[in-house]
Amino acid sequence: MHTRKLILSAILTAFALVAFVIEGAIPPLTPIYGVKLGLANVFTLFALYALGTRYAAAVMSLRIVLGSIFTGQLVSFIYSLTGGLLSFLLMILLKRFFPLKQLWVLSVLSAVTHNIGQLLAAVFMTQTLAIAYYLPVLILSGIIAGAFTGLCAQLVLMRLSKIHYKS
């Protein structure tokens, strides 16, 4: 039945949106753009492993569009989308190599890709290559944030492994 998956992905989208809005309300740790936890990604990862690629794509793209509307920041939409698309492409390409026990690895790789994508968008938007100096910080923050969000999704999924979402 698709209904179950449909409902679950709707719930995950709502959760992701709430996480996104709450996280946006917390003052940034550093004055460097893009250094953030990306809590909403937990729900994308959850959808990817529990429901499959298509549902994860829906959860992520809806969250990006709705998140930009809710926070009223159209600029961030462009960066969000570039980073999101790149990291999602990476995720669906590499997912087959990472079973649930290595979900966190995929999460780190996609978080780093996400940050690189955002940086590329920023370089393109400002037409200033100097922003690329932030690359090491963004990779570092991607590794930390990706490991954290990945572990969140992985640990929850492992504990819920007896539930068959796909039925």
């Binding site: 753009y33 960066y79 980073g83 290595q102 920023a122 400002t126 200033t128 922003i131 100096y133």
Partner: protein, 131 residues
């Protein structure tokens, strides 16, 4: 087992990034000439050592104004109308590796190379809304 390999790989990568970042952010710019860019094109070039008194530069963009404060040897974003004000929090422009950037208004402040017309090797102030 596999996890251990990945942990090692990511730790090494993280340490490497940290090292590179610490290294480049401590290299102070030999140049005291600052370039202010809007939408990728140069608005003004200022030699910070030759500034006397204080001066404010206001740039208007899609998301409001950016006010840049220049005084002898110093430059910073004094205020901005963008939502998160990362460029204001950035403080003074110190290093060529951390330019001040305002992404909403596409304003970049960075040190210029000593050679004329060079661009990308410098510092800016950053100000971008949450992603």
């Amino acid at each position: 087992m596999k996890n251990r390999i990945w942990i090692t790989v990511f730790s090494v990568a993280a340490l490497l990034c940290l090292g590179v970042w610490l290294f480049i952010s401590n290299v102070s710019s030999p140049s005291r000439v600052v370039g202010i860019y809007k939408d990728g094109s140069l608005v003004e070039k200022i030699d910070l050592n030759s500034v006397t008194g204080e001066r404010e530069i206001t740039l208007s963009g899609e998301y409001g104004d950016n006010v840049i404060l220049v005084s002898n040897g110093h430059i910073k974003m004094k205020s901005a109308d963008c939502p998160d004000k990362l460029c204001v929090e950035h403080g003074e422009l110190k290093s060529s590796s951390s330019p001040i950037v305002c992404l909403p208004n596409k304003v970049v402040i960075k040190f210029e190379d000593n050679t004329d017309g060079a661009d990308a090797k410098t510092g800016e102030i950053k100000c971008i809304p949450g992603n």
